[in-house]
Point group: C2
Chain length 210, copies 2
DNA sequence: TATATTATATACCAGTCGTTATGAAAGTTG
DNA sequence: CAACTTTCATAACGACTGGTATATAATATA
């Protein structure tokens, strides 16, 4: 297991000693993310990855360590660039605003033609068999953290009077995650944007309180 | 590609000509289902399958054709034995009864200790990369049929006055499927029965009409 | 008992998996 | 120019993939 090379920073600032690399690390990582996102962790072969990234296998191993390390960095990138709607949702003033921003953000994410279909977290957590258990655990960890953040936000919302008295914030947090995960599955199954919009509108209409 | 041997019927009724097989086809298929259910289509290797089924590879190929045919038969078995709560739900007298039976049936299915975690349909449709596209299509086909049946049922429910006037049956059908898929994802992620119960109770409380 | 038919077990196929050893190429530094 | 360092491309590694050829064992039929 190699140490992290700190590849995320742009390496063009200070000229290195040896032969300079001929590819952009960030662009290669973005390409790798697309592959993992499309095919899952185990479904993405090194041949798929190197072809999409435009580099050879030794270059990949030198720059990113191994497949698992590459996936984790791709997962970081995914969370940073594609899951920003989550934090934006949590910042909404009311619980209804949280739900609305979350669902509409997810809708835009899932239906953006630039993106592969579905949610990388769902794909990787569901499609992880056998020896890639640590990958699964890493993905589940992030999902659990997201749910915890949502739960905290909804608990606060209840204290602020956003819900009727008999509302269960834990149930609602699980509910929001479930609708989001369901959207991911249906998007992966080829649902149209119009179909997902109806799902979002229906879910928001059912959402309780303000 | 061999022709179907009609292995579903119990072959002990009439003695065959050659050497009799030493394993029960139905039991082997049930074992194969558990493997596919746990690991997905591509995640389940022939070695996994033969070991769980207690037979050798040539026996498997002779009895079931190949991996794809085996999966399709396992999928039939799954739908027949594990998805019966779907039809039971559709037979409920009111839309609320449909939602209730569906969610509680799914809850029981996902939390039964005998079963692997999650829904085989979700697992196989999400975790199908590359060349197993026909498997994915077959699974998606069944999911689409299930949603269509649900939509028909909810349209009828609206005609029967189970919903407020401004209710969108299509959105509600997608909603029911989404909650179910979300339950599958969360069950696969290791959610406890108590957590899923709260999700079900919350969703049912939000369900509109009677 | 002899023959036909089917299932079994062993070993093997070509291909792919993730990973790495090897040597040449391309830079910086003395 | 000659070290030195790092990346490059080629090729290979052992392990595993889905799928079979072959030979033997077990039954029914004649």
């Amino acid at each position: 297991m190699k140490v992290d090379t700190g590849a995320s920073a742009d390496s063009q600032a200070v000229p290195h000693k040896g032969r300079p690399r001929e590819f952009c690390v960030d662009a290669a990582l973005a390409a790798a993310l697309r592959v993992f996102w499309s095919k899952g962790y185990e479904g993405a072969s090194m041949a798929d990855l190197t072809e999409a990234m435009g580099i050879t296998k030794p270059s990949l191993y030198a720059a990113f360590g191994n497949k698992e390390a590459l996936f984790n960095k791709a997962l970081d990138l995914y969370e940073r660039e594609k899951l920003d709607y989550m934090q934006a949702a949590l910042a909404a003033p009311t619980a209804r605003g949280v739900a609305e921003r979350l669902m509409r953000g997810a809708l835009d994410m899932y239906t953006c033609p630039e993106n592969p279909n579905g949610c990388l977290g769902v794909i990787a957590s569901v499609a992880c068999g056998a020896e890639a258990e640590c990958i699964r655990q890493a993905v589940l960890e992030r999902g659990a953290a997201a749910k915890r953040a949502m739960l905290d936000r909804l608990v606060r919302a209840k204290e602020e009077g956003d819900f009727p008295e008999d509302t269960d914030p834990e149930g609602l947090a699980a509910f929001l995650m479930a609708v989001n995960q369901g959207m991911s599955v249906q998007a992966g199954a080829g649902a149209t944007r119009a179909e997902l919009e109806r799902l979002v509108e229906t879910s928001l209409k059912l959402w309780p309180g303000r």
